[in-house]
């Protein structure tokens, strides 16, 4: 440290060169610092705009999603489904003679309960 100080003191020309260099260096550092600061600010602003844009997109998508849900709800109206089933798919209600009701015999279940358990 002392050695370096001694060296500078013994060369006045170098000292003035070094002083202007230091000033340039400081100026450069300040400029770089400012650029970093401004760049950061610009970046923050840009990100802010991006966030704003994405939030708008999110809102639009949510709105679209809701609209689609409601459209699905509209399309699933029983009247429309019945019309498609009958007119487009040719579906019909089962006739009386096509229906067989399967009913459990009274006491049937009870008899089953009394069955001995399998070994």
């Amino acid at each position: 440290m002392n050695t370096r100080a001694g060296n500078i003191g013994s060369f006045p020309l170098s000292q003035s060169k070094g002083g202007s260099l230091r000033r340039i260096l400081i100026f450069g550092l300040v400029v770089i610092g400012l650029m970093v600061y401004v760049g950061g600010k610009v970046q923050i602003m840009r990100l802010g705009y991006q966030i704003d844009e994405l939030e708008k997109q999110k809102r639009d998508l949510e709105r679209m999603n809701r609209s689609l849900q409601i459209e699905a709800s509209s399309l699933s109206a029983p009247g429309r489904i019945e019309e498609i089933a009958v007119k487009r798919l040719g579906m019909v209600r089962p006739a009386k003679e096509n229906v067989v009701v399967v009913k459990r015999k009274q006491g049937g279940a009870a008899r089953n309960d009394r069955r001995p358990a399998a070994p």
Partner: protein, 565 residues
């Protein structure tokens, strides 16, 4: 010297303004600089009993203009008029006004909103608002009702539950700049109150049964060329209304669509199941029978002489539609004999009979949660004339609403308890907290369980062998009563010989009823009897609804397979 005086004067004025007029000027400045903006709360949704959406709120955009910033109102109005399909002259008039803010079009379609946005006019802006939308269109339109442009309930459930559905509007205190533009200050001291969304309402209505009731009623009305009709489907055990269909065909349009309320007249969206009374006619004989059986003034097998075909009641002769001979009381009801019914009612006397009329809920509002309900028309028995007892026993001289009729037959079906009909089962927050559930409510006991059972058998005979055979659903037992009531001719004030109300009220299955169904057809043309006009509608509604509810058929004859496991 002069300058000194000037400074003193200015100083005094400063003191006057800063100290003495401070309060007033501050208020004026705030008034000029601040704007309280309303934040509209989101209206709650309406669901059917299975959680299917029947009424929802959609975010849509409204278009506004700032006339003080419009340079050429005519050209802007022309452009907007083309997009919004509105009269350009009207838009121009609004844009040329001396106001700072004018609505140009409220709650427009998204496509139109985008086109307006693309115009990129600084004096034209868009604001998001909430619009009511009914995705199932005409389904249950008269029950749901509708809202106005400010989302306020105007009719139906939307009106009855308006306070709960609306929520609480919020506000924000914004600032205005020199040109009157709104600036949100943000940061510390930013005053606002967020809006609280409205609560969701869940109905007892079932979308599918509602559709069935509407479809079958429409079909029946078209066949009978009737002026209108009502079909109510109710759970007799709880009083839950599962379907309530009201139709008016007077203007050639059968159904009310709440998405376009301005296209309809009040008589098309009024819920006539609760707001209008009608003379029930023979369906009221079930009430007479219930009173007579409960008071034990008649036995179901007692033979009553109806051979004369007419009966003198005070100064009036009341006739049967056909001469019947001697009938058991069961047959009096199943054949719908006026003579037999009046003879039995006379045994009861006015006071005792009146007691049962009120016990079944007639003459007072049922309390159903719909606006505009009327109590019907039942005069106190002390005001009855000599002919009143006879007339009322066959459903004349009395006014009832279809919902009252549903509740009364519900009592016959469920063992004698009169239940309060209701349409909303739950009101809850959209996030699921703080829900309020509505439980079935018993009004009073109308008749004993034993009487109810006896009467159910009598009414089953109406469908099996009596006047209501066309009401018999395939595969199921049914019980009910037909009614054909003459309407009063508005010109003469007498009973009309051409204008009738045809009805059928009953329940299915007859032994353990799951549904009470009221069908009322107003002014059918051609066939007018309830057994021919209303009974087939009852049959179709009952068949489809029971199949949908997966109620096992109880009357299939040989087509029942018995298994032991």
């Amino acid at each position: 010297m002069l300058m000194g005086v000037g400074f003193v004067l200015v100083g005094l004025r400063l003191v006057h303004l800063q100290i003495f007029e401070r309060g007033d000027l501050t208020r004026r400045a705030e008034r000029q600089q601040e704007r309280l903006m309303k934040l509209e709360s989101k209206r709650g949704n309406i669901f059917d009993r299975a959680g299917r959406e029947l009424a929802v709120s959609l975010d849509v955009e409204s278009i506004f203009g700032m006339p003080n910033e419009v340079e050429n109102p005519r050209s802007v109005a022309r452009e907007l008029g083309r997009i919004l399909r509105q009269n350009p002259a009207d838009l121009e008039r609004r844009l040329a006004s001396d106001r700072r803010f004018v609505w140009l079009s409220r709650k427009v379609d998204p496509a139109k909103a985008n086109q307006v946005r693309d115009l990129d006019r600084s004096a034209i802006g868009l604001l998001v608002e909430s619009r009511r939308f009914y995705p199932k269109k005409t389904l249950a339109g008269t029950v749901l009702g509708f809202t106005n442009v400010d989302n306020k309930g105007i009719e139906g459930v939307e009106l009855w539950y308006d306070k709960m559905l609306r929520g609480t509007d919020g506000w924000v205190l914004a600032e205005k700049d020199a040109r009157g533009r709104t600036v949100f200050p943000g940061g510390h001291g930013f005053q606002y109150q967020l809006p609280r969304p409205g609560k969701d309402v869940t109905l007892t209505l079932d979308e599918v049964i509602q559709h069935i009731a509407e479809k079958e009623l429409d079909k029946g009305l078209a066949e009978s060329k009737a002026r209108g009709g009502v079909c109510v489907v109710m759970d007799p055990g709880t009083g839950e209304v599962l379907a309530l269909s009201v139709r008016s065909t007077m203007r050639g349009r059968a159904a009310f669509n709440p998405n376009e309320p301005k296209q309809y007249r009040p008589e098309e969206w009024r819920n006539r199941a609760v707001t209008d009374l009608f003379e029930p006619g023979s369906i009221f004989k079930a009430i007479t029978a219930a009173a007579a059986l409960e008071e034990k003034v008649v036995h179901p097998q007692e033979r009553i002489d109806c051979s004369t075909g007419s009966i003198q009641v005070a100064d009036r002769v009341i006739k049967d539609s056909h001469r019947s001979g001697v009938l058991t009381f069961t047959d009096v009801i199943s054949e719908s004999s006026n003579v037999g019914t009046i003879k039995v009612a006379q045994r009861l006397g006015k006071a005792r009979y009146y007691q049962y009329i009120t016990a079944f809920g007639f003459g007072r509002k049922t309390g159903v949660d719909l606006p505009g309900e009327i109590p019907g028309l039942v005069r106190d028995h002390r005001l009855w004339s000599g002919v009143s007892l006879g007339s009322i026993s066959i459903g004349q001289e009395i006014g009832v609403t279809p919902i009252q009729m549903a509740a009364a037959y519900g009592a016959i079906a469920n063992g004698g308890m009169l239940m309060k009909p209701y349409l909303v089962s739950e009101v809850g927050d959209p996030n699921g907290d703080e829900g309020v559930k509505f439980a079935p409510m018993t009004v009073n006991r109308a008749i004993s369980e034993e009487t109810s059972k006896t009467l159910r058998r009598i009414l089953q005979k109406v469908v099996e062998t009596g006047t209501g055979q066309k009401a018999k659903p395939a595969g199921y037992t049914a019980a009910g009563k037909t009614g054909t009531a003459q309407k009063i001719d508005q010109k003469t004030g007498l009973y009309s010989k051409e204008d009738y109300v045809s009805s059928f009220v009953g329940f299915v299955p007859a032994v353990s009823p799951k549904l009470v169904i009221v069908v009322m057809v107003d002014s059918p043309v051609g066939a007018v009897y309830g057994g021919s006009v209303a009974a087939p509608i009852f049959k179709s509604v009952a068949e489809s609804s029971l199949t949908y509810l997966q109620v096992p058929p109880d009357d299939l004859g040989g087509r029942m397979l018995l298994v032991s496991q």
